[in-house]
Symmetry: none
Subunit: 207 residues, 4 copies
């Protein structure tokens, strides 16, 4: 297979990479994903179009990397050292989950994150390649934070050990994302709290 000849990454211009990320995020925030064009990103970044096409296959891929970079920088800023963000473990599972789910709600309501995330989720749901990258790089880490906390809870006897931690995670995150994506109702802290409560207690009436 005569692979179309890969460019030499070691000679890549960091300056251009940064400029492209900044331009991409700015344009998506300002004019929306659909109206953002590769041509526009290149122009705004002061970069040739080919410099974008050399390193990314599509504008969605550019935006995904730009967003990952943004998230990484934000995380680094928050977590001082580049360590992994972790869900707190105060011993009170419900309280801990509420805290993080509320934070997730806030993030999804932040227009700065909302627009690119929507666009990426949308594009990813159609383009499997991108969807995989989106899931692995952006979504999965978030989910596994929940997963680990729930495993800890199971070990501590705070959660039913028979439940698949992954399913438990989805029981919390799934409804949240559903409401966010389809705008089927208010997305606020109250909703996050209620979600935690009923995911833990179930729908069956207690005696």
């Amino acid at each position: 297979m005569p692979e179309p000849k890969a460019p030499d990454a070691s000679r890549r211009s960091e300056r251009s990479r940064r400029a492209i990320f900044d331009a991409a995020l700015a344009l998506v925030s300002e004019t929306g994903y659909a109206k953002t064009t590769v041509e526009g990103i290149a122009a705004r970044a002061g970069v040739g179009k080919q410099t974008i096409y050399r390193w990314w296959p599509s504008k969605a891929a550019v935006l995904l990397d730009a967003f990952l970079d943004l998230a990484a920088r934000a995380a680094e800023e928050a977590g001082a050292t580049g360590g992994r963000t972790e869900l707190p473990d105060t011993g009170d599972l419900a309280a801990d989950l509420r805290l993080v789910l509320r934070a997730t709600v806030d993030e999804l309501n932040n227009p700065l994150y909302d627009a690119p995330t929507r666009a990426l989720a949308a594009e990813g749901s159609t383009d499997p390649e991108l969807g995989a990258r989106f899931t692995t790089a952006l979504l999965e880490p978030q989910l596994q934070v929940f997963g680990r906390r729930i495993e800890a809870a199971q070990a501590a006897g705070q959660a039913d050990p028979a439940v698949d931690p992954r399913l438990a995670t989805e029981l919390l995150v799934g409804p949240l994302h559903h409401r966010w994506l389809h705008r089927t109702g208010p997305l606020d802290h109250a909703y996050a709290d209620a979600l935690v409560e009923h995911a833990l207690r179930g729908l069956t009436p207690r005696p």
Copy 2:
């Protein structure tokens, strides 16, 4: 305001409408939503482009109507007369939910439905106008089937009356859609069953 002049719906060609729906669904199935163009639909349907633009504002809108039409025809075929599809009430809430959730899984796994649904969900998450139509016309009816069954369960003492039926619905449907949309795991009957079980019983360990 000189409203851009509405066409006379009574003189509309049913023949063309059908041909457009068929062409749209076929093209999306065959080549994917992104590669489907209004021009292509018109050509395949043997129709002028203007005939599409006269009645729909975008290809997404065409596809949504085409899909609604498809669903309506499928429902009519299944439900004999055009009555409203309803979730069965055998008295066993868990069994009833399992049944429908399994059916939903089958539907989402059916490539004939998968492609258009993904495309519409994607487009709708970006375009609020379309998203609203998508939600109201396609999603909401499905959700309310669950809602009504849960309300009945609450009335019969099979479900905690303190839970918002809408939240309960999302607790079941949200994780399912999440896994489907992001392809984060296998989407099968076992998953549907586990979902029902844990949504009902909760994550908290039982004594």
Copy 3:
């Protein structure tokens, strides 16, 4: 052979055709042929690029048609009715040829004609397809004016009947074009006169 589908010439926009011609000639005059781009012509003409590519295969083809149109209009203006331009026949062959050759010199020295003609001759010498069109449509008619006058001269006993009229024509026009194309010397009326004289009398010394 799946001919790429010809556009319907009867629906062609005369307005656009004219605008394209004007823009093409203006740009070539102002900035030169090499710096003239299809994109630039389209922009200047207020026309979509596709409208150019729909009707012409290359910018050279556009310019050729534009130039032919210009020549046709100039001829019509000069010759009152659209009759064919003809070399005068005063009975004095040398005088008649001088007249026309001087006119040719003036034309080649006119920067308005010079730039496009050079460009077309250049492009045509490389692209055989275009070269053929250039020759047939632009060059040949000019040459045949000479050809006919020489035939008349032969009939009237003013010219050697043994000479191929085509060769005779080239004996007059060839040197002129050569000097023009390669700028190997001054191109003026004196040169035209000398050319006529020696083409008629030959290089051999007269007794």
Copy 4:
């Protein structure tokens, strides 16, 4: 004036120069001038692009030098020592001219020479700078061969001393080039012979 910094010619790599010439001529022969690119020449020659741009201003300039080099080598091979090629002087002007004009015809018909010459003539007719170099270095020496022979003929009384030798030269070469460039008729020995005859005798009928 800060002359853009001239490279040190003494350190120039002869190896690269040769490789560039070979690559340029090969590519023009194989794929045509238009499809030949500086990038392609550099790649084929195993040379950096900058090495070309350091020494030549354009691909036409490269090709011109490559062609001059080719011609020089061919001449050296033919003329044993590097002496100047000269038109023979057998005393019979017509015969001598026929001989050289026939040779010119053969050269113009040789596809190895035809393609680059056409390209250079074309480019030169548009780009005055290059045109001047083309004329001086390639065309002029050829023309002056004729010029000198004609002067000799005049001195020997074989040619009208009143005729400008330059014009006489053009009377022979101009028609030939014209027919070659515009492909307006067959270019063969018969044409060369006829050209010589009528250039010498003129078009006027002899008593």
